[in-house]
Symmetry: C2
Subunit: 151 residues, 2 copies
Amino acid sequence: MLTMLRLSAISLAAVLALPAHAQFRKPEDAIHYRQAVMTTMGNHFYARLGAMANGRIPFDPHLAVENAEITVMLSKLPWNAFPVGSEGTPSKAKSSVWAEQEKFKDLSEKMQAEMAKLLATAKTGNLDNYRLAYRATGNACKACHDHFTTE
Amino acid sequence: MLTMLRLSAISLAAVLALPAHAQFRKPEDAIHYRQAVMTTMGNHFYARLGAMANGRIPFDPHLAVENAEITVMLSKLPWNAFPVGSEGTPSKAKSSVWAEQEKFKDLSEKMQAEMAKLLATAKTGNLDNYRLAYRATGNACKACHDHFTTE
């Protein structure tokens, strides 16, 4: 577990160390990328992990771990995709993303931390704890979207 | 490594075992999801892994492994998102996806296998082999897109 955490920290640092222009040629590319990550993460979070948390499908710890591993990986990706100037349609990001970078970073990190806890909880196979972790993660998503997006 | 492979096989089976309607309420949801996965995978494949294979940015084995882990995970996801009826705009999938399911499955599995080899090659840190594996993976992507999509 510690090795995993260490690897994860190194990997994330490597991703964040690359300048955005190495990954995105145009602001629109960054917008499409971050929206694609959010769409994929949202699907696994709400339609898979949420379906189990809310009892729409039976709780299957293996499936919960599988999906939480996907969302944990995806939760690390969008933050390099907000270069200055990547505002406006089709993005729903408010200009506060760039004006309040510290708060944006703080809320994005809280979401990532909750997502990691959700994975840890899924691994224990305890449905009650899983439900609590799911709700906490959903609230962390919502806190950031409420403040930084127009939807 | 063997444990990882076993876990991966179990997890993939779990994903594929879930009926599509558990994840997608409408055909459009499946289309948006699979396009989002492809956009995310394409960005990490071409703009990150490809940039290193083609010398646009220096080859960094840690960064290559990080990105190949992302593309390997994403390479497993789209195949559950082709329910019957999920054709037409904005999808670029031809009707042959549903008419030639065996070929579609075969080409999708070849791509996943090449992507896994690309990750293994990145882990060795050998740039020449990494370049060869990158090209083989790109060809596997292309073979499927040439036959099954309108672009």
